[in-house]
Symmetry: C2
Subunit: 191 residues, 2 copies
């Protein structure tokens, strides 16, 4: 129901009906709606499983970012759902531990390594959120240009950037991830 019509479309009455059961029957299995949403969020994030490559921090971070992005895109309404969740369970921490471990092995101090992990994750979530939201909202330059919210003469560079080919979210994501990893590498092995 969330995938189809969004988090707001999930209500106890409709869910019960879809399950062929009375509304109040749900409350035998779930404390309240908050509890229900928490369970869903934990379930989604439960699939956040990343192969562990302790000797290759770049691959570790790259895999984490790609898998997290894939989860986001496969569950388009997940991000607000995660934000509404209270606790996400240990599944959210395992890729973190693996990433920090691999960076520590490469010589980075654990606290800085955790910071680096957040850098990657926050970019990934931010980008996925933008990617899911952008094309439908006034934040997307190409769309804004089309709808007239963004005038070509006032924003020449932006206009030039979005003209021609369609905007390529995959390429933008790869560019961002690559840039971050290069920045981290420069930090790990200064010339």
């Amino acid at each position: 129901m969330i995938d189809e019509e969004g988090l707001d479309a999930l209500n106890m009455r409709a869910l019960a009906q879809r399950l062929g059961v009375s509304t109040m029957a749900l409350y035998n299995h779930v404390d309240d709606k908050r509890d229900l949403v928490n369970g869903i969020a934990r379930n989604v994030i439960g699939s956040f499983d990343v192969p562990v490559t302790p000797d290759d921090w770049q691959e570790q971070l790259r895999a984490t970012s790609h898998i997290l992005r894939r989860i986001c895109l496969a569950n388009p309404r997940m991000i607000p759902l995660i934000e509404k969740a209270d606790v996400l369970g240990p599944a959210a921490f395992r890729p973190m531990e693996a990433a920090v471990a691999s960076l520590a092995k490469a010589g980075m101090e654990p606290r800085e390594a955790l910071t680096a992990y957040f850098l990657v994750v926050n970019f990934t979530l931010g980008h996925s959120s933008y990617e899911l939201r952008g094309p439908f909202r006034g934040l997307d330059p190409a769309e804004a240009l089309r709808s007239g919210h963004l005038e070509a003469q006032t924003f020449p560079f932006t206009t030039q950037a979005v003209s021609g080919r369609e905007w390529d979210f995959d390429a933008a994501f790869e560019f961002g991830l690559r840039t971050i990893l290069e920045g981290l590498e420069a930090r790990l092995s200064p010339r």
Copy 2:
């Protein structure tokens, strides 16, 4: 009302009461609740004004990121609000144009420059969102460790990273921003 109790606490009845007016009077000034929220979002994003430094792309991006973060932290409930908004107006695009222009001036192709801008903005929004959410939710390792959701023996590196000093969001933000700018610089002027 949003700042005090969150977006959900904003309802037409309570807002009207606070304004000392009947509920339906609001509908003379606003189409519906969606329209109201859009207006608030546009208002908040209206303060997204960044000094323009065409000859210093690093300063341009740094200032953009800092100001955007300050807006987020000053309006803790803004991020879901922005996500709910339909159109944000030209204020959202001016810093974008300035950033793309400065990067283009430094020799970057406009499309790549726009991608770089999104990298910075998505990281900033992702980080701010995390910063506002983290301490209160199960996503914060330090908090998870305290509450027992994260066991020290299973997550030794993470545990080590969050033990000792309190987690420093400012430092983590600076680290992320610096790393990104270094990555971009390496891309602009390869050795």
